[in-house]
């Protein structure tokens, strides 16, 4: 059952082969057994999840089931879920019980899905290894010495270790795609504005976008159907007609033009990753695709631009954590300023403080033009590179991450090294384009490799088609880690 696709699970539930309560309990038992070592979840509320499963069983019995009714989904702990502790991986929100549902959560609730628990993440989604979480590091299920990636590391780990049927993530600079690659699963960050950010704790608002993480492209299509849609409570939510993201899954790929940016295969890319990506490209050629060499000349600037813009937005967003209305307040203080300074010093971890300081600096008097404005101008150059590229090709492919999962602690003391692990993913967020990662084999150390697929605006259905056809022809996505009780 735990290796079934969401389609298969949905059918099994609808014909009564298994109940939602049984399925939810199955996952809760697996979490109890394997989560102590993996630490993929921050919060489990078994009784709340089972209560939701009972309601799903009633809907199933009444013949009112939707595709995801009764299916247990792990929610990244960045989404407010009413009555659930929602920490965003931070001591600042360690005891915060969300008083309302994020749009993503209410979409899943309305679809009849079960909230299985809240997954671990880098603090305020700032990190690429899940090591900045206040709630401890997550282990990569393929190798417990390796990081799962981040910031949606708990979600990626939970999907790979079969501790949920599927999961949600968020992606500001690669936080869905990079952990998906490092844990050998599939994940998609849709076009900016497609999924409402309401109730999703803000990091960098012009870049943040939620998306699904699962074991296959056809699972992602079902999840995206539920997560997307206009929401007036997010001022950047786009008013578009509802799509069926699975509509093109079975289209043949003959004639597809795949662009390979030379910058994504230059110095810095590990050989074993390059090998897997090239093998995947060869598979696409067999499926009828043609290859176009392209260039994204400004993509080398994506990391520096991102580390101006994202911290600038973060320093503003995180100014709300003042210890007054909710969240952590220092136990001892004198005046108001000291209350702010101590609450924030004790409530935030090192990486979050670092980014708040970068952001505060680049927005401060005398530096705004040189940093923030310059970064916004280069952001446009980066977006224009993609516009030009999509005149020559239908989709862009390359590695998701320059290496397979690195070891826990390996990059801990060097923030710049850590930032460079998102070198291929960040430009996509700056442009607002959709991007995904799918499993493309294993590196020389046996750790998974991800293939990144970048589409034009609103090309999610096409990207899922491209991923699905590859997954029909290969079995990388069906592989599972050892020692997870399969």
């Amino acid at each position: 059952m735990i290796n079934s696709s969401l389609q298969q699970l949905g059918s099994a539930l609808r014909v009564g082969k298994i109940s939602s309560v049984e399925l939810t309990q199955l996952y809760l038992d697996r979490i109890a057994e394997f989560n102590p070592a993996l630490n993929a979840y921050i919060t489990i509320n078994a009784e709340t999840s089972l209560e939701q499963a009972r309601r799903a069983d009633t809907q199933l019995a009444d013949g009112k089931a939707q595709p995801l009714t009764g299916i247990p989904i792990a929610q990244k702990d960045i989404f407010c879920a009413r009555g659930w502790r929602t920490t965003c991986g931070s001591r600042m929100l360690e005891n915060f019980i969300a008083p309302y549902d994020a749009h993503v959560i209410s979409q899943f609730n309305n679809a009849g899905a079960v909230n299985l628990g809240k997954t671990n993440m880098d603090e305020f989604a700032m990190g690429s290894s899940n090591e900045t979480s206040h709630f401890g590091t997550v282990k990569n299920p393929w190798d417990h010495n390796a990081v799962p990636g981040g910031s949606s590391g708990g979600a990626a780990c939970a999907v790979a270790a079969r501790l949920c049927a599927a999961a949600t993530g968020t992606d500001t600079g690669g936080s869905i795609r990079q952990p998906a690659a490092l844990c050998g699963i599939s994940g998609i960050k849709p076009t900016y504005g497609t999924v409402s950010r309401y109730g999703m704790i803000a990091f960098a608002s012009s870049l943040d976008q939620a998306g699904p993480m699962a074991r296959s492209a056809d699972d992602l299509a079902l999840l995206l159907n539920v997560m997307t849609g206009f929401d007036e409570r997010d001022s950047t939510s786009l008013q578009r007609d509802q799509e069926d993201y699975g509509r093109d899954l079975n289209k043949p790929l003959s004639g597809l033009r795949i662009g390979l940016p030379k910058e994504f295969f230059a110095e810095g890319l590990a050989q074993d990753v390059a090998g897997c990506v090239h093998a995947a490209i060869d598979e696409y050629k067999k499926l009828g695709a043609t290859i176009v060499d392209i260039s994204l000349p400004n993509s080398r600037l994506a990391v520096p631009v991102y580390y101006v813009l994202a911290p600038a937005e973060a320093s503003s967003n995180l100014s709300r954590y003042d210890g007054v209305r909710y969240g952590y307040r220092a136990p001892e203080y004198g005046d108001l300023t000291e209350m702010y300074e101590r609450s924030r010093a004790q409530g935030f971890g090192d990486e979050v403080k670092r980014r708040i300081m970068i952001g505060t600096y680049v927005l401060s008097h005398g530096y705004y033009d040189a940093y923030y404005l310059q970064a916004q101008k280069i952001r446009r150059l980066i977006a224009q590179d993609f516009d030009d590229a999509f005149k020559q090709c239908d989709v862009i492919m390359g590695p998701t991450s320059p290496s397979t999962a690195f070891n826990l602690g390996e990059k801990g003391s060097n923030p710049v090294q850590m930032y460079l692990s998102d070198i291929y993913t960040i430009a996509v967020n700056l442009a607002g384009l959709p991007g995904m990662s799918i499993p493309a084999g294993f590196g020389s150390n046996g750790r998974p490799v991800g293939l990144q697929i970048i589409g034009n605006y609103f090309a999610e259905a096409q990207m899922l088609n491209i991923a699905h056809q590859y997954q029909l022809a290969t079995d990388h996505h069906d592989r599972a880690p050892q020692n997870i009780g399969l």
């Binding site: 307040r329 702010y340 967020n429």
Partner: protein, 101 residues
């Protein structure tokens, strides 16, 4: 780019982040490294380029100026931080140290 400890102290104060001298020195080293990375963009000629402030070139939506939020004061105040064992609220307001003599 090399930041001074004074730069870091000023930024920490603007951001209301209390820091010890040791933390300021560590932050100074790490932030200097990050600003070296950021400096790569200074050489780019961006004359005539319009800054891109958002991922989509769309105008922000407007809405009618009407109350849409329900009053949930009690629910929200139940989340207020504690100080010495008691929630820092009174008469529907939040309590902070006195700022006006």
């Amino acid at each position: 780019m090399s930041l001074t400890k004074e730069d870091v102290r000023k930024v920490a104060s603007l951001a209301r982040l209390g820091m010890t001298e040791t933390e300021i020195e560590t932050a100074r080293e790490q932030l200097s490294g990050i600003f070296d990375l950021i400096a790569e963009m200074q050489a780019v000629d961006t004359k005539g380029i319009t800054p891109m402030s958002h991922a989509q070139d769309v105008t922000q939506r407007l809405r009618e100026d009407v109350v849409t939020e329900a009053d949930q004061r009690e629910l929200f105040q139940s989340l207020a931080p504690q100080y010495q064992g008691s929630p820092q609220i009174e008469a529907g307001l939040y309590l902070v140290p006195q700022v006006i003599e």
